[in-house]
């Protein structure tokens, strides 16, 4: 995001990886994505992140609204399994090319 601001940049989001869609062996449901948040390894730890907003940011060739960066917003919905994976729902389904890509999990709406 071009901010035109010099100086420190702060990271107020947690890095996460998009693993794929919610699926069974031969059927997938694209409305829910599975996301792995860095440093989160158990179902209990995911509770802090539930409800937090997330953004998938990607670049496009054409400029819209002054920037080539585009974003799909979403939320952490619930844990998936026992090992800290989460299910996430986005405003529009994530594109398949996002698999393995980066997603930002923000710390808001905050409850601390």
């Amino acid at each position: 995001m071009v901010k035109g601001r010099q100086g420190e940049s702060v990271r107020l989001y947690v890095r996460s990886t998009i693993l794929g869609y919610k699926r069974s062996k031969s059927n997938q449901h694209e409305n829910t994505s599975l996301v792995q948040i860095e440093g989160v390894n158990t179902k209990e730890e995911v509770a802090w992140y539930c409800g937090k907003r997330m953004a998938y940011i990607y670049k496009a060739k054409t400029k819209t609204k002054g920037t080539r960066y585009r974003c799909i917003w979403g939320k952490v919905a619930r844990p998936h399994g026992n090992s800290g994976i989460i299910r996430a729902k986005f405003n529009s389904n994530l594109p398949p090319k996002s698999m393995g890509g980066r997603v930002r999990v923000f710390m808001y709406p905050s409850n601390i």
Partner: protein, 234 residues
Amino acid sequence: MSPPKKERTASRNPSLVRGIGKFSRSNMYHKRGIWAIKAKHGGSFPRHEPKPASAAPAAVKPPKFYPADDVKTPIPNRRKPKPTKLRASITPGTVLILLAGRFMGKRVVFLKQLPSGLLLVTGPFKINGVPLRRVNQAYVIATSTKVDISGVNADKFDDKYFTKEKKKTTKKGEGEFFETDKEDTKALPQEKKDDQKAVDSQLIKAIEAVEDLKVYLGARFSLRSGMKPHELKF
């Protein structure tokens, strides 16, 4: 009523099941002592004269127009919204971390909650460049650091202070069309700058009294490698 009303006792008729009392009508008559009151007043229960009916209002003219359908008037809405419940961790003087927006990551001092529910917050401006500003509670992390805020008077600030001024819509002639665009950028009125200084001067004194607090407020919060927010204690 001449004698002062005594505090009413609870019902003399305990309920066995909802809707069914233990005592019958005649038993209740006896328990309430109506027989004693009647005896005291010569055989009949004391009544006072009915108030004279107020004079009938001047004859109302029949309306000229009856609407074809009966339209129900909606019940007036008496609901008054309350400001959002403030988290227990946020008290006046708490240092907050802003999570989003222009000042994300800045550590900022909380002053008070405005009637709209938003939090009134200040840098102080000299320390980290955050002016008096409104912030939503959901976009804020409360730390356990507190600043002594007793010297600060934030009473004059409310939501109206922060609303944008309405642009006067003047009809633009062709010649004026290009000129009016230049007026859009407004300098901050001196009054607001003075308000900022008034609030901050007290705060900065309190901040400088604590070791390292000024540097702390000047620095921004950021997540680093290996930091897990769900394990951090703020």
